[in-house]
Symmetry: none
């Protein structure tokens, strides 16, 4: 297989996206959610969640599912900001976000 | 709901992740794949795909599904490179990639 | 476009799979998960989830994501059993599971 | 983890849906598409696709991507009809569709 992203330098990729068709970015957000810690707190929004691996990423919600959705948004914002500003993005398990470094 | 991504300025988000629980980045890659155009060409890898909205993003494969997987990787590389280098990312349908602009 | 599933009678379908390329079954499971309600309970597996629209479908887990994955499996089992036994499958939003009724 | 689908008998499941969150049904459709064979034919809809493992499942389209979408629909119709009528569903690779056999 050959792929080409002109901006991105489009390296030949021996292994395409796995059978499951899940992208690296999607998998990163899933891995982050899998490491989330949730608590019930004394607050108008009593559900609190955070990802200990990602400093400063937390969310609250009226329900646990709202808290999770909001946490997923916070993870994504953090990821976008980190990529745009060339900040360190910690590996989660085996998963490293590799930003292509040169244009084709 | 309150969410907070310290890097990212953690804006309050009235609407959490869209109803399917799919992140903006995931949805962007899906929208791009849904707009892909494929052809059968005379080549060792006879399936060719491109996303007309995203200049320079193309892939080939031995099978249509391998071509499509490879194209998904090319879209993701293009997206990461575009975010990291503050390049324009075209809206696909209603979907705009909004990179948070300030730290908290 | 013409499609044909010999078993299934292969009706002509004006609209192919929805724009994201996601099948009806996949979308049903996603819609069900998006309607799930979760709680933290006093149990060895403290995360509990259920889909109020689907009677009897619930799951628990050590973490919220494990609970959610397990709930996705329960939804799928419920869906397969309901199709195989011609039980009613409630519409979720606009989405109705339409089982083809005759062979070609 | 414990999950429970009341219709379905809700067996305890040691392994929840894999990290990738892809359901068995979704994976079956993907595996079928990965085995599809496409051709260009002399027809108003010149793209033709079929899944040799699934007898009678084929589709055509004005473009290759329309043909693929239509083929995905035909696979899904075939799968629904086969489950509803207790027909044999061939394993694709390691993947076997296991329909729960009893209610809880």
């Amino acid at each position: 297989m050959t792929s080409h992203a002109e901006h991105a330098g489009g390296p030949e990729r021996g292994a395409p996206v796995a059978n499951s068709g899940v992208s690296m970015l999607t998998q990163y957000i899933r891995n982050a959610l899998a490491r989330a810690h949730y608590e019930i707190i004394q607050d108008a929004e009593p559900f609190y969640g955070e990802v200990p691996d990602l400093a400063g990423v937390w969310a609250t919600g009226l329900t646990l599912e709202q808290c999770r959705d909001s946490l997923a948004s916070a993870i994504e914002d953090w990821l976008l900001f980190s990529i745009a500003n060339h900040l360190e993005i910690p590996a989660l398990g085996d998963l490293v976000i590799a930003v292509p470094e040169r244009a084709a």
